[in-house]
């Protein structure tokens, strides 16, 4: 709907442009003739056809403008192209005058011969005015498109948020952790109590952080640490972790629950797929205004169930691109039993 309206208004504007250039050209050139002593009616009749031609040429210059956008084309090429076409258009307009006026009225031709250098200047001026108006409208269009783009990113962001909240935490993580709590109740009641507390704290934190728009990387890492502490009770020696976060990186703002699902993947599809287990390595640095987060974990290349991983990665990618308006990068690579996710987010 919006597109149709815009096309209509563009068509109307184009007509107005032809009209304006033609009217101005006719009025001013007829005035020159009339000032030199020609009859008013004859002056207008002489001025109208060449002016109409100039109006159409001025309209056509829109195509030249759109192939040489102000934002990307070099200033030199814009200047040269428009100067050249202004001269050509104006030359054509003067030529039309020269051939049209004798046709109109041979007797009056002497009276009707205007000052051609003034006419040429007038043609150039009007053509340039038309170019300026074209650029103005092209810029307005570009601005509107940019606004649409931002809007689209916002919609994408909302969708990604929704999906992320649905897939926040694998419910089997809860079932398995509760089973560990049940197990410890008999032999190690104090540890069981502590584990129950950790689970509650973790879920509370997820709810609190998930409701925020942005959090610091430090807060996200805190969440990840709590999650890993719970998984370590389940996996024992099989799960080791190494987390290193620059102080500068720790203060960077990130969307909440960006890393948590990725780390969950690293446990569920990575370390859990290895008989001997392995180490999850998380490194975050801030260099040249670029926040870089790398998650490394071993993974069995022959693991059976790789379904869930793609979804988690896609979610993270969607949210990242939404919050950074397409500036951030998320890469996932797997080779020789090592899985690596790299996130690069400009500050």
């Amino acid at each position: 709907m919006a597109t149709t309206q815009r096309t209509l208004s563009r068509g109307a504007l184009a007509l107005y442009a032809v009209g304006a250039v033609t009217a101005t050209a006719t009025a001013s050139s007829a005035f020159f003739l009339w000032a030199r002593g020609a009859a008013a009616g004859l002056s207008i009749a002489a001025a109208l056809p060449p002016s109409l031609l100039l109006g159409i040429i001025a309209l056509a210059s829109r195509f030249l403008c759109s192939t040489l956008p102000l934002r990307s084309a070099s200033r030199m090429s814009i200047a040269v192209a428009h100067a050249g076409s202004a001269a050509a258009a104006s030359g054509l307009w003067v030529l039309t005058w020269k051939s049209w006026v004798p046709e109109l009225n041979r007797q009056a031709a002497a009276n009707l011969s205007p000052d051609y250098s003034v006419l040429f200047g007038l043609g150039v001026l009007l053509y340039m005015a038309a170019v300026a108006v074209h650029y103005l409208f092209l810029e307005i269009d570009a601005l509107r498109e940019a606004e649409d783009e931002v809007l689209r990113y916002r919609v994408l962001a909302r969708e990604a948020e929704l999906r992320a909240f649905k897939a926040q935490v694998d419910p089997h993580f809860l079932f398995n952790s509760l089973n560990a709590v049940a197990s410890m109740c008999g032999s190690r009641p104090l540890e069981a109590r502590e584990m129950a507390q950790r689970l509650a704290d973790f879920f509370r934190l997820i709810l609190r952080l998930g409701a925020l728009e942005r959090i610091t990387l430090g807060e996200e890492i805190d969440l990840v640490n709590r999650y890993l502490a719970i998984e370590k009770v389940r996996f024992g020696d099989r799960l080791t972790t190494h987390i290193s976060v620059d102080e500068a990186a720790s203060g960077c703002m990130v969307p909440p629950l960006l890393l948590q699902p990725l780390v969950e993947n690293a446990v569920r599809h990575g370390v859990a797929s290895m008989v001997e287990g392995g180490t999850i390595d998380i490194v975050a640095t801030l260099e040249n205004h670029m926040l870089r987060i790398v998650i490394d974990n071993p993974a069995d290349p022959d693991r059976a169930d790789a379904r869930g991983e793609g979804v988690g990665l896609e979610n993270a990618r969607g949210r990242l691109s939404a919050v950074s308006e397409g500036q951030a990068i998320l890469q996932a690579r797997e080779d020789e039993g090592q899985f690596r996710v790299v996130i690069e987010l400009p500050r």
């Binding site: 398995n176 089973n179 197990s183 024992g236 859990a272 693991r303």
Partner: protein
Amino acid sequence: MIRAVIVDDELPARELLREFLTADEDCEIVAECANGFEAVKAVAQHDPDLLLLDIQMPKLDGFEVLELLDRSPVVVFVTAHDEHALRAFEVHALDYLLKPLSQERFRQVMERVKRAAGLHDRQPLAGLATSLRARPLQRVVVRGDDGAIQVVPVSRLDYVEAADDAIRIATGGVKLRKQQPIGELALQLDPDRFVRIHRAYIVNIERIEKIELYAKDSRVAILRDGTRLPVSRSGYQRLRELL
């Protein structure tokens, strides 16, 4: 006395099962295993009456463990994933337990186990377990004569040939023998990637270099590594539909 083997890759989960089983006077734990390989070995070694089997484990999952057993204890799946529960019945596991475990439910299941173990007419499990696995199959497990277990992802499977009532699986120049009818495996493999080109052959279509006419109505498939496999008329039709 019920002789039980516990299989779970998480220590707290094993501990809980141990606690429940120890409380039952009729039960004795003969082995605790942290992965599928250990489980296959333990069953061969101890010939237990009961296998308490986790499903999600590294390398070999619970279903693959069942496929590799040459004895058939009563099986109870122990899992946090209830989508597996239905399949547990399909593979003729006796029952299943959901994590976190309930002691009451554990007692009920043990009652059933004792009745079943007393009957002594356990069904052979392996064949059934195989035929009802999730499809399409993602990897094939093979147990060699020496007891060594090999896990072959289907992407590395070149072709399969029938050998009497067993099959030989060709992968990267070696052939692994497995006790399974070829028709059963043909049903489990992804029909978009594997074609039964002959009564006795299944081929990975990515490995086919070309098909040549050999005699009237008789064709031969030439694989990238030069292997020549016969293609029957109906096999050729299936191939043509796919390619």
